[in-house]
């Protein structure tokens, strides 16, 4: 943690010289080498590293695409096709970027559900959690604007539908919504002017995300990592140094993730997109069935489940806003759902609701689909506003292990203390 004594020792006179002036090597050593990580982290904890990789990969591939892309209503569509056909390796780099957006969301959803399951939002990690929700919001804005850039039919009509959400404010103060929408568009409809500003913001926001990520990691390193037991680090034997233990585990997780990533990039590059986006934007023809990218589908289902324009918009934004309050909505004193026999059922019900809303968001908004969208939208909010406060109060949690070490090694080892030497198979594996 941040308040432990630094164990960094400069090894050369040059390193000493630097350390006295700009101790960046010390910072890296203390934050990513010597940093104590709980010894019981499972593979769900590798998604932080995977997400960092995703952000850097999106920035690098996006930088390349911006070298070839023309942000204008007249040229955008053709310039993307040129990238796919003519630019050296453009087909590959473009697929990295487009598939990368989806992979980024796969990873972030797993990361968020992991945080919810193991109570990673609870004290002292509230700010860490809130920064995470802000990153999620910035990611959604970036992805939405990025999807506009190829200027296909789905780009155009997606932008039209989502920006029109703001016109619902006309229901509060007449005229305000329309004025905001006109301002967003830079015209009286979505046009090349809209595309240009989206490109500008799409280039800016990843660096905002990078700044938020730095704060997120900072907050993480002050509070320390949560772990599957939800217990705090109590003894030295509860933790291992980040390098090589957590670093290697992160690397294994990352490579497994990259196999899936590469499978989509090289074999199914358009699987996660829509065929309609290979038709150039046409302001006179709306595609018969507009759907957002898959990662927005649950929120899209919530939007359509509410039979009022303003209500739908409020519900959709509320579905994200409620996440900010999770640290205070959950009244349980136990962090990890592992030890919460009642809440565990509700957690999985919540996961099912999110998946169901995703499915329903891709379906037409009529008949039975609307009915079920309303049922699951109700549960989405009920989970946070009713289940979390009440179950936390009435539930009797299971017996917690006395320490992380006891959880890993068994009941008689909990004092750990000075005996941080692993026994048996874990000892000195290089000698075997």
């Amino acid at each position: 943690m941040s308040n432990h004594v630094s164990s960094y020792k400069p090894l050369s006179p040059m390193a000493k010289w630097w350390d006295d002036r700009l101790p960046i090597a010390r910072l890296i050593h203390d934050s990513f080498v010597e940093f104590p990580t709980p010894r019981n982290l499972n593979y769900l904890w590798t998604f932080g590293g995977i997400l960092s990789f995703c952000l850097v990969a999106q920035i690098v591939t996006g930088l390349v695409l911006a070298m070839h892309y023309q942000p204008s209503g007249a040229d955008a569509f053709n310039s993307v096709e040129r990238i796919r056909r003519d630019v050296n390796f453009g087909w590959m780099i473009r697929n990295f970027h487009a598939v990368g957006a989806s992979m980024f969301f796969v990873a972030v959803y797993i990361h968020i559900f992991r945080g919810l399951y193991y109570g990673s939002y609870k004290a002292p990690r509230e700010i860490l959690w809130i920064l995470g929700v802000l990153i999620f919001l910035a990611m959604m804005a970036t992805a939405f604007m990025g999807y506009a850039l190829p200027w296909g039919q789905m780009s155009f009509w997606g932008v039209t539908v989502i920006t029109n959400l703001f016109s619902s404010l006309d229901g509060v103060i007449p005229g305000v919504g329309t004025a905001i929408v006109t301002w967003l568009w830079g015209g009286f409809s979505v046009s090349g002017a809209t595309l240009n500003r989206f490109f500008s913001l799409h280039y800016l926001l990843p660096f905002v995300i990078m700044g938020l990520v730095i704060l997120h990691v900072w907050a993480l390193h002050v509070a320390g990592q949560n772990n599957p037991t939800g217990l705090d680090l109590k003894h030295k034997s509860d933790s291992v140094p980040m390098a090589p233990y957590a670093v290697m585990k992160d690397a294994v997780g990352l490579f497994a993730f990259l196999i899936v990533f590469a499978w989509f990039v090289f074999f199914l590059p358009d699987y996660l997109g829509h065929a309609d986006n290979y038709i150039e934007a046409n302001p006179l023809v709306t595609p018969p069935h507009i759907v957002p990218e898959w990662y927005f589908l649950p929120f899209y289902a919530i939007l359509r489940a509410i039979p009022s324009k303003l209500g739908g918009v409020l519900a959709m934004f509320g579905a994200i806003a409620v996440l900010f309050f999770v640290p205070w909505l959950d009244t349980s004193r136990v962090r990890s759902t592992k030890y919460r026999p009642i809440y565990r059922w509700f957690f999985w019900l919540f996961v099912i609701s999110c998946l169901a809303l995703g499915y329903l968001g891709a379906k037409p908004a009529d008949g039975i689909y609307v009915f079920w969208a309303r049922v699951f939208t109700f549960y989405y909010f009920a989970h946070f506003l009713i289940v979390m406060p009440i179950v936390g109060l009435i539930e009797t949690p299971k017996q917690l292990p006395r320490s992380i070490t006891e959880d890993v090694l068994g009941p008689d080892k909990h004092t750990g203390g000075g005996m941080g030497i692993p026994a048996g198979a874990a000892a000195a594996p290089e000698k075997r």
Partner: protein
């Protein structure tokens, strides 16, 4: 620990193999990100052009674009050819490539001089293509940026430019047509 085990031990081999694998993988992934900035196939398809010389009368010069650069094509007069031929190679400042005039034109087509119209000093376009231009002290081209004088064979004679004007690769595809590039 190291004293008790063979050197290199199994872990060393694993680490070296993993590092080699990562280095090769990383390097091969890097190449597409570098190569994307090179001219694509579309740009390379435009890399050669054909020029019809029939309308260019003796003493006239035309400028054409090739790979985004100006090319000077001059139909030289007898006097200009004679002036270029009579210059001793020792008078030429370009010691790397002291080219005789015959080496800079095609045999039998000595009146046609084809040059990349970019000063070898810092890339300006020399004057001398149109009749009103100053052609410098040697009747060829004169670069107004830093005062380089080129002769009627496009060779540097005076001024800061280090090399003669480049002759692009070209060939006559018919009596009055050339293919450049």
């Amino acid at each position: 620990m190291a004293a008790e085990t063979e050197d290199p031990n199994r872990r060393d081999v694993l680490v070296m193999t993993a590092n080699a694998f990562a280095a090769v993988g990383g390097a091969s992934l890097l190449w597409p990100f570098i190569h994307q900035m090179n001219p694509d196939a579309g740009a390379q398809a435009l890399a050669s052009i054909e020029v019809d010389l029939a309308p260019v009368k003796e003493g006239q010069a035309i400028t054409v674009m090739w790979r985004g650069k100006p090319l000077f094509i001059r139909n030289r007069t007898k006097d200009e050819i004679a002036a270029a031929r009579k210059t001793a190679l020792a008078e030429l400042p370009d010691v790397v490539e002291p080219a005789a005039d015959t080496a800079r034109v095609k045999a039998g087509k000595e009146n046609w001089l084809v040059l990349v119209g970019i000063c070898t000093h810092l890339g300006c376009i020399p004057k001398g293509q149109s009749l009103a231009d100053t052609k410098g002290d040697f009747g060829g081209w004169f670069c107004p940026c830093h005062g380089s004088h080129y002769d009627t064979s496009g060779r540097i004679r005076k001024g800061p430019a280090p090399r003669n004007l480049d002759v692009p690769p070209y060939e006559f595809v018919s009596d009055t047509k050339i293919k450049i590039g």
